[in-house]
Symmetry: C2
């Protein structure tokens, strides 16, 4: 069965996009990357999603994240549809073109290789469309996190920004982020880090909770950023 | 490569859990299901996550969703650790035991079969731990949505409730939910539904947006629930 697992090197595919032919690893360079797919151009949920990503593109570039979209539609449709997305979602003055390329995977090669199809959504020839996938790719070109949503369910781009913040913080500092964490909130100290090391690494303080097991693993420290 | 795609029937595995031996499809019955994995018992982020799920269990059962957790730890560890989760996360009066079973996948059989391992996190023998996976399973036992987060990044359970609301609404009514949708907000009318049919199905009204392409696919209607 196709699909990508955490830690897999993301395939360095070459594809036609609205910004010319792109080779993924070269396009990403030293940046983080997000490849996200949508089912079909000229459809409603996709328009709300790609517009939201356009509006958030400043937030992604602040974090050094390069975006690239994908569906099985043609370049021609991508270009025509982009005008709809911009007209509906953006102030004309700030966006006169979408701030990310869209891959035209019209032969479904990437969709199949990356396990992105949604069998419940078919085109007029009965072929499945792409689902709403998100792949977050680290600077080492490895898969760090993925989402697989069906065509019926638009994604939360606040959640995608939240996980990028967590992935980047935890790649840089030896901490992990708890359930429902947001930037600025306390983070967790790894359970295998000795107390003395934690005290040195986290001068703002390490706070541990008493637990029935008597084990001292539930240790917090303020967001070190 | 292992892994599950949208629309795949979820394997009807049998496993040891903190509530006895469970066969997945029988455990789920006619309910929706969420199988979620965590890296390791007695670790900090996992304690915040499983506690949050315990606190939210009323929200999941209101929606007819059965929960089941999984890690590669032993039943003995699951039972000991459950006391820590409850002591830290719940009011004693409301939870005297975790409101969902935890699978002991100590041989990593399910973790491998379902593509749940995180190669960056290893136990003392160098074997990889489970990642933070979420599989949302429909009443037809098919995969509807999945998340794959690494050990460092705790999940957002508000997002998980949000997608359950969308999946259930869109399974019941012929609508889809836009980017960042929350229950009560407008939903989208499918692009292939004729205008007259939409008018009959959605008596609260269908509102469409003018777009440069002149196509009439961006149609909203109030949440029909």
């Amino acid at each position: 069965m196709p699909g990508l697992l955490l830690g897999d090197v993301f395939p360095n595919f070459e594809a036609e996009t609205t910004c010319g032919r792109v080779k993924l690893h070269e396009y990403l360079g030293d940046s983080w990357g997000i490849l996200f797919s949508h089912p079909r151009d000229y459809t409603p949920v996709c328009t709300t999603e790609l517009g939201r990503v356009a509006r958030l593109s400043g937030e992604f570039s602040k974090r050094g994240v390069k975006l690239i979209a994908l569906s099985i539609d043609s370049l021609e449709d991508h270009c025509g549809w982009s005008k709809d997305i911009l007209a509906y979602n953006c102030e004309k003055s700030e966006c006169c073109k979408l701030p990310y390329p869209i891959i035209a995977d019209s032969k479904r090669e990437l969709a199949v290789a990356l396990g992105m199809l949604d069998p419940d959504e078919k085109d007029k020839d009965g072929l499945p469309l792409t689902a709403r996938c998100v792949f977050v790719i680290g600077t080492d070109k490895r898969l760090k996190l993925s989402l697989l949503y069906p065509a019926t369910t638009g994604r939360s781009f606040d959640e995608i920004l939240r996980v990028v913040d967590s992935l980047q913080l935890t790649a840089e500092k030896r901490v992990a982020t708890p359930a429902d964490w947001k930037p600025g909130e306390c983070v967790m100290v790894p359970p295998n880090m000795p107390e003395e090391e934690a005290a040195t690494l986290f001068p703002a303080g390490v706070f541990s909770k008493e637990l029935p097991s008597g084990k001292k693993y539930l240790r917090y420290t303020p967001d070190p950023r």
